[in-house]
């Protein structure tokens, strides 16, 4: 099958977006022809084809007439991105959050738990995220199945935050099998991380 996408007159990034949509509807062996009106769109489409593992050829047909012909490839995965670069995210180096209990503040337990849930939720909304979150004593409950903080901690982990729970604490409360986010740590690691921290935030 051959499909033609006319992306002339479209501003960047629309030619690529439309090519991507068209490619998704095609099968290996099919041909996708994208018509564009500038050289930059041609180069961007060639990058796109390279990313998808398609072979592609650009051709100039007039002053503002170009075509890029792509041959939709097989099942090979899109090319992996270089890993060597110095990637950044929202984490602040040296910022450590310590969750030493499953409640926040002193008072009614019910309120304390609600405050802790709100605290972890508010953490996810910050422009700056901690580098690490350490959970110990009843704080271990926060990272285990059934905790209402779990989804937010998972979100933080997906943003690159290291979430660690004290192994001794998991054992003591019989939680080890139910740990649902992050890794397990020990007292040496906890001490080292606290010593190395620039800022420690403790609700």
């Amino acid at each position: 099958m051959e499909k033609i996408v006319d992306a002339r007159g479209m501003a960047c990034p629309l030619p690529v977006v439309n090519a991507k949509k068209a490619a998704e509807s095609l099968s290996p062996g099919d041909t996708l022809i994208v018509r564009v009106d500038n050289e930059i769109a041609v180069q961007n489409l060639q990058r796109f084809a390279g990313h998808m593992g398609f072979s592609a050829a650009g051709e100039k047909q007039g002053e503002t007439e170009y075509t890029v012909t792509m041959h939709i490839g097989g099942t090979e995965k899109p090319r992996q991105e270089p890993e060597t670069a110095c990637a950044v995210d929202a984490r602040k180096k040296g910022m450590l959050v310590v969750l030493s209990a499953n409640t926040m503040g002193t008072g009614e337990e019910k309120l304390g738990k609600a405050l802790m849930k709100a605290f972890v939720f508010a953490l996810t909304k910050q422009d700056v995220l901690p580098e690490t979150i350490l959970c110990y004593n009843t704080g271990a409950y926060l990272t285990c199945q059934g905790a209402d903080t779990l989804e937010d901690l998972k979100l933080l982990e997906s943003e690159g935050v290291t979430v660690l729970t004290c192994g001794t604490c998991l054992d003591f409360y019989g939680l080890k099998e139910t740990l649902a986010v992050g890794g397990i740590t020990n007292m040496y690691d906890i001490v080292e991380r606290m010593e190395a921290a620039v800022t420690i935030v403790r609700p």
Binding site: P13, V16, K20, N44, L45, R47, R79, V88, D89, A90
Partner: protein
């Protein structure tokens, strides 16, 4: 729901990506008659961030302007980013912004409330910077435009030009790269919310903190990385200083997601223009993935400062910056002029 106008849909180019190529601009200005004035310490001929004029032995006036079409849909944020970006040139000269004038073009279909929010964003940034917006000029036009004309001051001895880098200096960059590519991808609704929030916060952050730390060190040269990209502005610094800037590519802080979008072909036209502009002036010492090169040529809106200082001072300065801002890094070093102005390694 209130009437929502997608500001970026009213613009044909995003932010500093709208900038005319450096080469084109230089060609257009060739041959014009201009007056000589010994008090003009930094003029157009230096391709610097702002002009600097000596008022008396203790005061030099810095003047600059910057404006662009919407880079984000939220009008307050757009105003804030445009103003932060305009004042950045003053910080890049080592000075402090003091007076500013609004430059505003309101497009058809923009509700009054949106225009007010853009201005509020500008005032918010000026207030934080310690500057006063004293007036301005507003017109109607096809595309929204906002920015500031800014005047600032600096002690004449402390002017930081982009042409003073010395062999042996290290280079510090104060904000990560990838803004142009990410805002292009955002136009296609391909960027997730947390990432957008991260780059919005970065663009809305003044270079004031970085400047205030930088001026306590014997910095030789400074520029801000905006529309001409790291390599475009770096090239001008190298050329102006008569040195070679060596960029340690793996040390340059970048937004990881920009790599993916670059390799998918979501590269703004400005990045191609920048590549064209410095072509021949850049040497690759090893194989560098195309997507990573694209990021080095990516036009930044409200980007960070790039400055050169002696090696012995760089670590201390970096540590101080790390305490106050998110992702500063040492990204390279300066040598005597080699066979190219920029060397990627």
């Amino acid at each position: 729901m209130e009437t929502e106008v997608k500001l970026t849909k009213l613009a044909s180019c995003a932010g500093c990506g709208a900038k005319l190529g450096a080469g084109t601009l230089a060609r257009m200005l060739e041959g014009f008659q201009t007056r000589e004035d010994p008090r003009l310490i930094v003029g157009y001929d230096k391709s610097d961030d702002a002009s600097v004029y000596l008022l008396d032995e203790n005061t030099a006036l810095i003047q600059t302007t910057d404006f662009f079409p919407p880079i984000v849909d939220d009008p307050f944020l757009y105003g804030r980013i445009a103003a932060v970006n305009a004042m950045s040139d003053v910080y890049a000269m080592g000075g402090e912004p003091k007076l500013a004038l609004n430059i505003l073009c309101a497009a058809e279909g923009m509700p009054e409330e949106a225009i007010r929010e853009i201005l509020r964003g500008g005032y918010d940034a000026a207030y934080e910077a310690g500057a006063i917006i004293t007036g301005g000029h507003t017109i109607r036009g096809a595309e929204p435009i906002y920015g500031l004309a800014v005047s600032g001051f600096v002690h004449p001895k402390n002017v930081l030009t982009n042409s003073g880098a010395k062999p042996g200096d290290l280079l510090i960059l104060t904000k990560p790269l990838g803004i142009g590519i990410l805002t292009t991808a955002a136009k296609a609704d391909m960027v997730e919310k947390p990432i957008l929030n991260r780059i919005y916060a970065q663009m809305a952050a003044l270079n004031k903190t970085a400047r205030d730390i930088m001026v306590n060190y014997p910095v030789h040269s400074c520029t801000d990385v905006t529309g001409f990209s790291l390599l475009g502005h770096g090239f001008e610094m190298a050329q102006g200083s008569g040195c070679t800037l060596h960029i340690a590519v793996d040390s340059v802080p970048i937004h990881r997601e920009a790599l993916t979008f670059a390799s998918m072909g979501l590269v703004p036209a400005g990045a191609y223009r920048n590549r064209q502009y410095v072509r021949g002036g850049v040497k690759l010492r090893r194989d560098i993935p195309l997507a990573l090169q694209d990021i080095l040529y990516d036009p930044q809106t409200s980007g960070g400062l790039l400055f050169a200082l002696p090696e012995k001072d760089a670590q201390g300065c970096l540590r101080e910056l790390q305490d106050k801002i998110l992702h500063p890094a040492i990204v390279g070093y300066v040598t005597e002029k080699e066979d190219s102005f920029i060397c990627l390694e």
